[in-house]
Symmetry: C2
Subunit: 296 residues, 2 copies
């Protein structure tokens, strides 16, 4: 557990430093736009996606045969896409949240128009970083993967399904589909980009993607559980809102204990996939366990 | 003039057909999200950016030495980015427009949340199309160019400056900077992507970019002029709104006739750049003149 926290902190710090430098490189951009982007990027969070990129890079032997600059670009891109999605999700027209990670949401500080534009700019910057900083032969596969898992069949598509299913009773397979797209797609992309940067062959990229997919399901179930049982103070955002909104969640559909069991089963499946990667995947194992055992 | 209309129609049709097919390829995406994207993509407009991509491709001898699939991917990507910017600009938190190209705006039909997400999804699809459909060696340069000209130092940055300058008197250089970013950046990117797909060397890519930059200035001046002198019926959107909003425009800063003269001068500079491209650039010349002489 402490290993995971150290990994998250170190990889998170490397990624944020890289992103700060990338913002500085956008000379001639309106300062207030960069401030709005910087505000949400700094706001903290676990930095899980960058850590997954960089530990999948390590698990594939990336330090020997891979391209660390490509991995760092991918880590930055994943954090940008994740942060953009939070900024847009928090908007009044979407979830209408005032608080995120214990601080006022972007539109509360910078206004709604700027929050929309800051989110838009984070998306384009994500692709710019990969195009500029990743190894030339990796740019195509990385951009294709990131765009697909972010877009209509990935996170954004999942967000639409989630929105449309509020106040409707869902069957478990439908809920799983939403989770797979809304959360799983970006975790899967993080793992696949890390593997690509690490010089992995197609089989290993596929395996890492599968690992991310199962981990994503476990992650979302735990998120749902924490919404039910945590206090707002622990989570740094309003809790208990899922039920208030009539959202479909694992604990609501299955009950608390069966939901916990599901999370453990998905984790076990994810860990099984790592068996063939041996000890270089130790960091990744530690991260995966942390995801399921965390309390915020 | 009729040449330009034919070019716009043909290139526009090829691009829209390509984009429709791309939407169909997003199997498993929520149908309503694809409908919202399709609604605004179909809604018409001049299709100037795709036509610029494909005529810059032609001007560089692309049909002999270039990659048409790369040019078509770039044309589709430019139209997606342009359309996303309109959908987000029309939102209540931004310009709050109910009418666009003679039809209700995206959020009026699909709701605000869906309009935000549809715009987001158009952005990621733009990058996906280039990554998947353009020639591998062109993906890096194309994604870098598109992302940069869309992001904080390009269109989105220009949008922020424009927003922040409402109800403030601007000097001409400040207004030109806003136009260069808000409109010029995407026209420049269209031309540079077309040249890249056409197999142009660095000098020609640069020349095409400069052509697009001057054309962009002319385009924006004419847009400002049309806002003053056209009827809503001709424009398919509300007119006279710039002055109502306290926006800085060329006719307001310079007066009508000097603004018209400025547009002609920028056009002349743009056309001069095309001299070295000979007759393959005839379509591009025709498009450039159309941009300045159009009445809607």
């Amino acid at each position: 557990m402490s290993d995971a926290l150290t990994l998250l902190q170190n990889h998170g710090q490397a990624t944020i430093t890289y992103l700060q430098e990338a913002l500085v490189r956008q000379t001639d951009a309106p300062p207030r736009l960069l401030q709005a982007m910087d505000y949400s990027l700094r706001a903290g969070g676990k930095r899980l996606r960058p850590a997954l990129v960089l530990e999948c890079f390590n698990a594939c032997g990336g330090s020997a045969v891979g391209s660390y600059p490509s991995a760092l670009a991918a880590a930055g891109a994943m954090e940008l896409i994740h942060t953009f999605s939070l900024v847009h999700d928090d908007l009044p027209a979407m979830d209408d949240d005032d608080l995120r990670r214990g601080r006022p949401t972007n539109h509360k500080v910078f206004g709604e128009a700027m929050a929309i534009l800051a989110g838009d700019a984070m998306t384009t910057l994500a692709f710019e970083l990969i195009a500029v900083d990743a190894e030339a032969r990796l740019v195509g596969p990385m951009v294709a993967e990131l765009a697909r898992q972010t877009g209509p069949v990935g996170m954004i598509g999942g967000q639409v399904l989630d929105m449309d299913s509020e106040n409707q009773a869902l069957a478990l397979p439908d809920l799983q589909r939403i989770h797979r797209m809304k959360t799983g797609a970006l975790l899967m992309a993080s793992c696949r980009l890390g593997a690509l940067a690490g010089g992995a062959d197609q089989n290993k990229v596929q395996a890492m993607g599968d690992f991310g997919r199962y981990l994503g399901l476990a992650f979302q179930i735990v998120d749902d559980l924490l919404d039910v049982i945590s206090t707002a103070e622990q989570m740094g955002k309003a809790t208990g809102k899922d039920a208030d909104r009539g959202k479909n969640t694992y604990p609501i559909l299955l009950g608390l204990e069966p939901a916990r069991l599901q999370a453990q089963q998905q984790l076990a499946t994810a860990l099984k996939i790592l068996d063939s990667f041996g000890s270089p995947a130790d960091g990744l194992r530690s991260l995966a366990k942390f995801v399921v055992e965390r309390s915020n």
